[in-house]
Amino acid sequence: MSDIAMLDVAEKEKVQYIVVKIGGEQYGIGISNIDNIVRMCPIARVAKAPFHYRGVINLRGEVVPVMSLRRRMGLEDDVFTDASRIIILKLESIGLIGVIVDEVKEVLSLSDDDIEPPTQANKGKTSFINGVGTNGDELISIFEISSIIGDVDA
């Protein structure tokens, strides 16, 4: 815990996260990576693409690939509802990419000392989160964007 104490001194700056729901859990996505949030729209399937890519959408004239986070994390397949949203991430390495979430809940500011490192419980499995934040009683897993996007073959 000593390093967290150090961080505490070093910076108290709060980072904003978009809190989303996938399955029963809540996840946070750092706002700096987010370009845009759009409602569900028709997704065109791309044959032979990796399973977790649902396809591509037309985002105001641009073709943007869309990934299912549920498929990526090995959960049950998506059920699209009125609450479903596509969060468009803008990444330097690959440009725009959309991820599908069940629901967007709120924007939350968390400082680094609100976030604890992820538990080592599920070792061996690729982890998509790099910390767990607390908001009152609720736990919010913070996504590690690079591990979601990276290793398409994994």
């Binding site: 028709p42 065109a44 399937r45 791309v46 044959a47 032979k48 693409a49 890519y53 396809g55 591509v56 959408i57 037309n58 004239g61 641009e62 073709v63 943007v64 690939p65 990934m67 390495s93 690959i94 440009g95 725009l96 990419i97 996007i149 398409v152």
Partner: protein, 699 residues
């Protein structure tokens, strides 16, 4: 004067002049007496010199000046043109191009002096007519000289020798077995040509003694990278006084401090870790100048330059556009505005309801304008392949001399236009094909004579437009591809078994050449034959949406045919439907569309084919390929789109035809672009996304 704003123009025009020089020098070699060519060369060299001078690129100016001198003599008939001179001139051109590259990277000409080349030029002039052998010999020694200045742009051979001894400098001091003298020379503060004075001092000293150590390094002294004093250590048996006198005799030398030193003094400092710049050159007196490593600072500066190269790109990708093309574009944009206004007035009409007829007319008008606009914009992006192929005659000439095979390159269709992005990337593959022809295709002169061919080998490069494609053919009249040898090699490499090999067609065998690491060269030369050739050519061309094919007749030569799409961004496509998904097939690859009864499907080697107009065409079930949902009921007839990839045909089975449409190709994004059957997507009128099939990959 700040000339940086002219840098772009300078770079642009210099490359133009270099190209024109290269072309004309080639022409001169064939026709050494042609005064027009000589004048043209003279003009280009003169402009180059002038521009380099204006931009303050002194080294470049120096080199071009000496080239101009040579041309001057040629023009005055004092010097005859021979191939040795042409060789030197081409080396000069390479050097100038080197300067230009450095300028592009750093806005600076760098420190390369090309003294060797300048000497060659001057020797040639001095030798004139009566010493024809001299330049030839000089040309031979040239390759040795050229790489050397790269690491230390030393201009004086005597200094250069000392530089080499530097590593064991202290040992050398000890081994000298002569009294050592340290000197610090102070130069008059008004002196303008410090480096020249220093040089004279060295000259004077060298009459009496051997200079062992320079501080600052000889490199820095030459570059005038020192204040008003510098130090040397010399070894001499001779009396000190006359030497000092002669040093003092050099004009603008203010004073000389000197004393005896011993190697032991330096050993101590040498032993101390990194004593490098500690010795202040200003420490006048007979002070012991440190044996600062002259090579090390030189290496450092070049390192810094390399770093600067990376960090300071000064040019952007630009394109020169014919003003007429821009005018046409402007006109069409004005028309577009008019069309928009008409549409607005139709929709704001007093009647309140839209007049169908009027609206329809306006939309047709708009359609015409957008089509024209698209064409114009495409034209603006089109550049002639000239810019790429122009360097090839020179390359073949060099290869011809290097391989001692007489050969000639014939080019046609240099004005064929291609999209800028394609032109930028087609250079390397074409170059490779040409080298391949020169190295493997053309036989040695003796073999050619034996085969009853003229000694001179012919290589040709033909470019022309064919429909929506540009075809570039690279061929030779050489030995052709020996399919038996290729077959043997394929078996040896374990690509096919001996039995399988027997059933292969000529074409299939030749296609082995495009497999990775399949080099046919018996010995590896630096021209080609490393086995990283044709497969790279193929993948480069395929990345541009094109393909490459070979035709070869043993004993008569081979021809590589490169097919490239005119443009990459917008294509005419046939829209088809598979289940409820829409796909686009590039119209350029479609031969016909057939309606075929399911009953006419035949089987060859358990694969579905159809027999159509004397052709056996394999059937490609698009729904299976795309993992679409299975169809519930089979129709009696199916719609088959017959596509063509080079000489190969395929019949793509689709559910429905939608129609022909102009589509804009969009990338699928980095995470999906390794897809094998889909090479992009497009957005349809209603906002729906449709995939574009990569016909080359599925046939």
């Amino acid at each position: 004067m700040d000339v940086s704003q002219y840098l772009d123009i300078f770079i642009d025009e210099t490359s133009g002049h270099i190209q024109s020089l290269s072309d004309n020098i080639m022409a001169l070699e064939k026709d050494p007496e042609n005064k027009d060519t000589i004048n043209e060369i003279f003009r280009a060299a003169h402009s180059l010199k002038g521009m380099a001078g204006t931009m303050g690129f002194k080294r470049m100016q120096h080199l071009t000046h000496d080239m101009e001198n040579v041309f001057q003599e040629v023009r005055n008939d004092n010097v005859k043109v021979n191939s040795a001179l042409i060789d030197i001139l081409f080396q000069c051109l390479d050097a100038i191009e080197g300067y230009l590259e450095t300028v592009k990277g750093t806005s600076n000409e760098g420190t390369e002096e090309n003294e060797g080349l300048i000497n060659l030029l001057n020797n040639f002039l001095a030798g004139g007519d009566d010493a024809k052998d001299a330049p030839a010999a000089a040309a031979e020694s040239e390759p040795k000289e050229e790489p050397a200045p790269q690491e230390a742009a030393s201009t004086d051979s005597a200094l250069f020798k000392t530089l080499n001894l530097e590593a064991e400098v202290v040992d050398k001091l000890k081994a000298a077995n002569k009294p050592l003298i340290g000197m610090t020379i102070h130069i008059n503060k008004e002196c303008l040509l410090k480096a020249a004075r220093a040089f004279l001092v060295f000259k004077a000293v060298e009459d009496y003694a051997e200079i062992l150590v320079y501080d600052p390094s000889s490199q820095d002294i030459e570059d005038e990278k020192f204040e008003f004093d510098f130090s040397i250590i010399v070894a001499t048996d001779a009396d000190v006084a006359p030497m000092i006198e002669s040093v003092k005799a050099v004009s603008e030398i203010e004073s000389v401090d000197y004393d005896k030193v011993t190697a032991d003094m330096y050993e101590k400092t040498e032993a101390a870790p990194a004593p490098e710049p500690a010795a202040e050159p200003q420490a006048a007196a007979p002070a012991a100048p440190k044996p600062a490593a002259p090579a090390a600072p030189a290496a450092k500066t070049s390192g810094q330059q390399a770093a600067a190269n990376v960090n300071k790109p000064v040019t952007s990708r630009t394109i020169r556009v014919d003003i007429e093309k821009l005018d046409a574009l402007m006109n069409q944009v004005s028309e577009l505005i008019i069309a928009k206004n008409s549409l607005a007035s139709v929709s704001n009409g007093d009647t309140g309801s839209l007049n169908g007829q009027q609206l329809h007319e306006q939309i047709e008008y708009l359609e015409r304008i957008t089509t024209n606009l698209h064409e114009s914009v495409m034209k603006v992006r089109m550049v002639p392949i000239e810019t790429v192929v122009n360097k090839f005659p020179r390359m073949i000439r060099d290869l011809s001399r290097k391989l001692s095979k007489p050969m000639e390159l014939y080019m046609s269709g240099e004005d064929t236009e291609l999209d800028r992005t394609v032109v930028d990337q087609i250079g390397d593959p074409l170059q490779h094909l040409l080298r391949n022809s020169a190295d493997h295709g053309i036989e040695m002169p003796d073999d050619r004579r034996a085969a009853g061919k003229p000694e001179q080998g012919n290589i040709f490069l033909k470019a022309f437009q064919e429909g929506n494609n540009v075809i570039i053919e690279v061929g030779d009249d050489g030995a052709g591809i020996d399919t038996e040898k290729v077959k043997a090699k394929a078996i040896e490499r374990g690509i096919v078994s001996a039995e399988e090999a027997e059933t292969l067609t000529q074409k299939e065998i030749i296609n082995f050449l495009f497999m990775p690491s399949f080099s046919m060269a018996k010995q590896i030369t630096d021209i080609s034959g490393r086995g990283v050739g044709l497969d790279v050519v193929k993948s480069n061309i395929e990345a541009l949406g094109g393909d490459v094919e070979v035709k070869s007749t043993l004993g008569e030569g081979s021809t590589f045919t490169v097919r490239l799409p005119l443009t990459l961004a917008i294509i005419q496509a046939l829209m088809v439907e598979v289940r409820d998904e829409k796909y686009a097939i590039a119209l350029a690859s479609i031969l016909t569309i057939e309606n075929i009864p399911v009953s006419s499907i035949k089987y060859v080697e358990a694969k579905e084919v159809i027999h159509l107009r004397d052709m056996v065409i394999p059937i490609i079930r698009l729904d299976k390929l795309l993992d679409s949902e299975p169809k519930e009921d089979d129709d009696e007839n199916m719609t088959v789109v017959i596509v063509k990839k080079g000489d190969t045909y395929g019949g793509i089975v689709v559910d429905n035809l939608i129609g022909q449409q102009e589509i804009v190709i969009k990338s699928l994004g980095k995470c999906l672009d390794n897809n094998k059957i889909i090479n992009g997507a497009t957005i349809l009128g209603d906002g729906e996304v449709a995939m574009i099939l990569d016909v080359n990959a599925i046939v």
